[in-house]
């Protein structure tokens, strides 16, 4: 299972605690994780990525194993530690507004 952390407001929308787990089949990419999150928690569609284009919303960022995956293509492979569940894939709201 892939561990995923969500920002506070998205946890409230999804009705979950801090960390969720999703199952990803096949190659572990950013897109694969986000697809799995949206299948398991469809109320989050449109809040992380745009509905149709699947483009990351401007003020949402992705981190894995202390690396920033926000601007990498969504077919970028995620680290083994994410695949093994040792580290979470982190979805965070950008720090903005003071």
């Amino acid at each position: 299972m892939i561990r995923v952390t969500l920002p506070y407001h998205l946890r409230n929308l999804a009705g979950v605690k801090k960390e969720i787990e999703v199952e990803v089949e096949g190659v572990l990419t950013v897109k694969a994780v986000l697809d799995a999150v949206e299948v398991r928690y469809p109320m989050l569609k449109g809040t992380i990525r745009e509905h149709d284009t699947k483009k990351r919303r401007a003020f949402v960022r992705f981190f894995a194993c202390s690396e920033d995956y926000s601007t990498l293509t969504d077919d970028t492979l995620l680290p083994e530690k994410i695949a093994r569940g040792e580290e979470p894939f982190m979805i965070i709201g950008a720090i903005a507004g003071g």
Binding site: L13, P42, K45, G46, T47, I48, G93
Partner: protein, 395 residues
């Protein structure tokens, strides 16, 4: 015993203020959706316990919330536990937060451009829902006015939204431009005497009327004059801040424009200025007394450069003659050092007699009058900046 519910949308969540018909003691519930911007909440005239809310965030986009129990509990339409509509895997298929412009060949309009602040053309981009207007007869049918300007409709209680694209596709669209707050359909009025007739107001395009439930639209801005556009009397381009109608006299509408207060007596075919003796005819809100179609309320704001009341005095102005002659209502309102604003969707009237008038400020106060405006009380004082106020009377 009737219950009066004031639905307050703020910059940081929603609040529901409730009282019995005396309107003297108020209970404050909330914040709901804490930390999110609530541009608007409105109850269904056909079922007061059905309330819709527009919840949005610059980070996470647009969410629609719905309550079926008068605001006690809320859910995203289509995602309620046990709600039908699941796909074969058992997951919901709702798209309650999806507002996609309709560009389909069947009934859609191409995604074009509108005028940007600097006069260049800019693509239409959905940002948020400003206003929700439930049907007068069906709790599951709601119209949504959005930024960038367009109108959407749901007929399944908010699970799916379809754009009525003829408005965005109007031939004048390339000349529409955003006001300071964006380019939005911010006012929607349904005419119960003429089913299928809808009025919308757009900043900064003007007022449009549909007589076929949104399938076609006609600009109705004749008589408006706006010095801030190249042709002050242009068919579109006017920054209309708010329009209001009394349901018993649907041919008459009142308008608070960027500058000027106006009225029409022929469903928008011609507007005439009725600013009269107002200390400033700039402002945002305008509303009509529930029992007296010629009694109108505005709150003058000093100017488009200084969004606060003239002389630091928060005054509601009332005309009992349908405009031109206005009296200041000050009893209970701050008359010194007051520098709040009252935004366009932040005034409402209830249906009781005597009529209750309500408005919210950017300073977080919600003021109420239970006697048509003769005296006022702050029924709550320290909310986040108030974006919208609606009121409903439940049996």
């Amino acid at each position: 015993m009737k219950t009066v519910r004031v639905l307050v949308g703020t910059k940081k969540g929603a609040f529901i203020l409730s009282s019995d018909a005396s309107r003297s003691d108020w209970k404050v519930d909330g914040p709901f959706f804490a930390g999110w911007e609530i541009y608007h909440m409105k109850g269904s005239p056909a079922d007061p316990n059905r309330i819709y809310a527009s919840q949005s965030s610059g980070w996470f986009g647009q969410i629609i919330q719905r309550s079926d129990d008068g605001g006690k509990t809320w859910f995203q339409p289509g995602f309620k536990e046990g709600e039908s509509g699941g796909n074969p895997e058992g997951m919901p298929v709702s798209e309650s937060n999806k507002f996609a412009y309709n560009t389909s060949e069947k009934g859609g309009k191409p995604l074009t451009t509108h005028q940007w602040y600097d006069g260049t053309q800019h693509p239409w981009e959905f940002k948020r829902v400003w206003h929700l207007e439930p049907s007068l007869t069906d709790p599951d049918t709601v119209y949504a006015g959005v930024e960038d300007a367009a109108i959407f409709k749901t007929t399944d209680g908010g699970k799916c939204w379809t754009e009525l694209s003829a408005l965005r596709g109007h031939k004048s669209g390339e000349k529409w431009m955003p006001g300071a707050g964006g380019m939005a359909v911010h006012t929607i009025i349904l005419d119960q005497a003429n089913p299928g007739r809808i009025y919308v107001a757009i900043s900064a395009a003007g007022v449009f009327r549909s007589d076929d439930d949104g399938q076609s639209w006609k600009p109705i801005n004749r008589g408006l004059s706006s010095e801030y556009i190249p042709d002050p009397n242009a068919e579109t381009g006017h920054c209309v801040h708010r329009i209001a109608m009394h349901p018993a006299r649907p041919e008459v509408l009142f308008m608070q424009k960027h500058w000027d207060v106006l009225r029409t007596d022929n469903a928008g075919e011609l507007w005439t200025e009725v600013s009269g003796n107002l200390p400033s005819d700039f402002g945002f809100v305008i509303d009509v007394h529930a029992q007296e179609p010629d009694t109108v309320y505005v709150i003058p704001i000093k100017s488009d450069s200084e969004h606060f009341p003239p002389e630091g005095k928060l005054r509601v102005y009332r005309s009992r003659q349908g405009g031109n002659e206005w009296e200041a209502l000050t009893n209970g309102l701050p008359q010194s050092d007051c520098y709040v604003n009252v935004l366009r969707d932040a005034m409402a009237v209830d249906s009781l007699n005597p009529c209750g008038i309500y408005f919210g400020t950017t300073g977080g106060q919600v003021y109420a009058s239970s006697n048509g405006g003769d005296s006022w009380n702050a029924i709550v004082q320290n909310l986040p900046p108030v974006y919208s106020v609606e009121v409903q009377v439940a049996p």
